[in-house]
Symmetry: C2
Subunit: 422 residues, 2 copies
């Protein structure tokens, strides 16, 4: 049984396909999301169906893999079964926990309401809606202060997701849409990227962080390093030194593993990830594996492995190999390199000692992401969207959807600026 | 001022583009929807962004057309202004009402909760979600009766929308997805098309109605003609002679014009459409026009004009011509033909005395719809989706989205069948 159809769960299920096991893969969504491109849905560059596909379709021709739409609510290792939200109980011989991570607001759960994170298609559509509505309202807003707030976009956290979001919003708000609006010019919009640490993309070599920061600034993003967020409330971010008024605030600062550790009552690290043995088994549970963002695994130097797709995929395949009796040695992550994009023709890539920035890195990024997309149809569609966007600066998926479009409260009006927003 | 950016409103604005008028086009959505293909979003064949585009982008290069996201709530002809839901008041010299239609349940408003109509992108996504969730739940349902209900899809109304929906659901549920599911075979699903009249596609020649009915039946759709719906409630349709249990019920039976007639307090027909003079002006209001589904216009024979895109477009252009002082004679609809599709390689087309059915009609339908789609990007994307769907039977946009996916109550379980569901 595999819980979660992210990169790790899918990789495990694919490795077990056609083998002498009955595999059940449970996910609370019917689709696998290609998370690295989720920010492109949020910024209206591609459609949800371009980067997500039904899990069921992936295993259509595989008789020994069963796909189930349900949410696991508890694991009972002593009985060897899991309980689902629908009331269903499913027994297992081997269990792979690949339940991923969710946003973490460092104990400030109330921030979640004002600063949405980006983990699912629904998150991406909500952010897209928020950005596009802010632009629409700014177009006709006479109050200068409110207009400034509507055209200010704050991204908190400068890891790969934060950098990609900030760059993409800058391209959207400062470039793509400005010809459509009468009163919004490229210089009207502000995109602010806030990072607590001393550099953007902290998992990359320092020289590439430098280049990424410069690229962001060329796109018009204001990068604030070493800036801690003290409070987030509706339309305000309080950075201690400064109170930023913004109607769109996006959270890209922290994640926390899902509930898997609580299900098992097993030891976890600070981020909620399960400690695992060097064959990815959970200590004390010989037939339970944790992989991807659910597992706390360190590389040779003692550094924890990053929460990225290649790690999850390799772990998924490894866990399947252990079950198949094929794994000969402890799990070791093979690092093929690290990529992040900032905007058109701007990206950074680190392959061991080889560091690249600019157009070449961006082309490698494009190629790698299209290559790993699920399904030929998606690849083609995303490639066309990208070529189109590149040639025209257009963003094709600029739809504001959601029921009751105008009855949703728009960003607050005429709220007095105070030093403390709480 | 133009209220509504459907086919009629857009056509009027385009005709006025670059002329010596300041045009404001108001819509409560930021996008124009190509309604004839909305059923393809509902049945997961194309993505929303493929058939809808931002209104603002259409008029990006047109300085005299302003686009406004807002909802008109009242018209005050004596003052010459309209009031919007946001509180905004906008004055006009000429007003074109192109506010379209919404579903009408013939006085049974409570049916709306159980039988969704198809007018907006949100409607289409909700129907898509309902169909896909029903299939997911059916896959693992042991109760035979409930399983049957989950796999029964009822479409009420056999006009073009109803016929297209029924055909597309049959293709989706009976063909496309059956290889992805373990327990759903093509013969498990039932699609029932209910029509009160004596034939499907009543606006088409009788011979084509016959052929359309046969095509539907070849696809596995059960067509019930002369069948009146007595009641619709959650998971049931009561047709007097029969009680059909179905978890998915779609309403394609009736529409009613929007509130424009109430705004003016002007005479309206039974469907809520404004009576207009032969130059599309509302009687008593020399500077107010009603077009498209908002206007009640009869053809030469006294038959009301159908509620289709070509009528709305010609009326939009005509109203603009009147304002420009260019209209020499009363409005007359030029009928270029009538098209409806049933499924792959199945369509009917009537061009005056020329009636075509089958593959040729279907190719004409494909060509015409791609031709009229807004924007080169959409055309390309839809064409690729169609070629892909045609070649593989796949449906690429099969995503169940919406927050709290599993906490939404799934179709009711173990509800006793009673003769009357109320």
């Amino acid at each position: 049984m595999i819980v979660g159809a992210g990169f790790g769960g899918l990789a495990a299920a694919k490795r077990l396909a056609g083998k002498r096991f009955d595999v059940t893969i449970v996910d609370r969504r019917n689709h696998h999301v290609f998370q690295p491109l989720l920010y492109q849905v949020a910024t209206a560059a591609v459609s949800p169906a371009d980067i997500a596909g039904p899990i069921r379709a992936i295993f259509a021709g595989v008789p020994n893999v069963r796909v189930l739409l349900d949410e696991v609510s508890a694991v009972e290792p002593s009985n060897g079964w899991v309980r689902c939200a629908s009331g269903r109980v499913i027994g297992y011989d081997h269990l792979i926990l690949a339940t991923g991570a969710r946003h973490s607001y460092f104990g400030h759960d109330k921030w979640a309401r004002h600063a949405r994170g980006l983990k699912s298609i629904d998150d991406a559509l909500a952010i897209r809606r928020q950005i596009l509505l802010a632009l629409e309202q700014a177009e006709t807003e006479f109050n200068a202060e409110l207009r400034r707030a509507l055209l200010t976009f704050v991204v908190i956290g400068a890891g790969p997701t934060g950098v990609e979001m900030a760059g993409a919003i800058a391209e959207l708000a400062r470039r793509s849409v400005s010809r459509d609006f009468r009163s919004i010019t490229p210089s009207c919009s502000r995109v602010i990227l806030i990072e607590g640490g001393e550099r953007v993309l902290p998992t990359f070599p320092a020289s590439l962080s430098q280049k990424a920061k410069r690229s962001l600034e060329e796109l018009g993003v204001e990068v604030r390093l070493g800036t801690k967020v003290a409070d987030v409330c509706e339309s305000y971010v309080d950075c201690s030194t400064e109170l930023i008024r913004a109607s769109t605030i996006i959270w890209a600062a922290g994640v926390r593993a899902s509930n898997a550790a609580e299900w098992l009552g097993a030891p976890q690290d600070r981020g909620g990830r399960l400690f695992v043995n060097d064959d990815l088994r959970v200590p004390g549970h010989d037939n339970i594996f944790a992989i991807g963002d659910t597992a706390s695994v360190s590389a040779l130097g003692g550094q924890p492995l990053p929460a990225i797709a290649p790690v999850a995929k390799q772990q998924g395949r490894y866990a399947a190999d252990v079950i198949l009796g094929r794994a000969r040695r402890p799990f070791a992550y093979r690092d093929y390199g690290n990529l992040a994009t900032i905007g058109r023709s701007r990206a950074v890539a680190a392959f061991g000692e080889l560091h690249i920035a600019g157009l070449i890195a961006w082309l490698i990024w494009c190629f790698a992401h299209v290559w790993f997309l699920i399904g030929f149809r998606s690849r083609l569609s995303v490639m066309i969207s990208w070529l189109w966007n590149y040639a025209t600066f257009d963003r094709s998926a600029r739809l504001i959807t959601g029921e009751e479009i105008l009855r949703v409260p728009m960003p607050p009006r005429a709220r007095p600026i105070e030093r403390k927003c709480a």
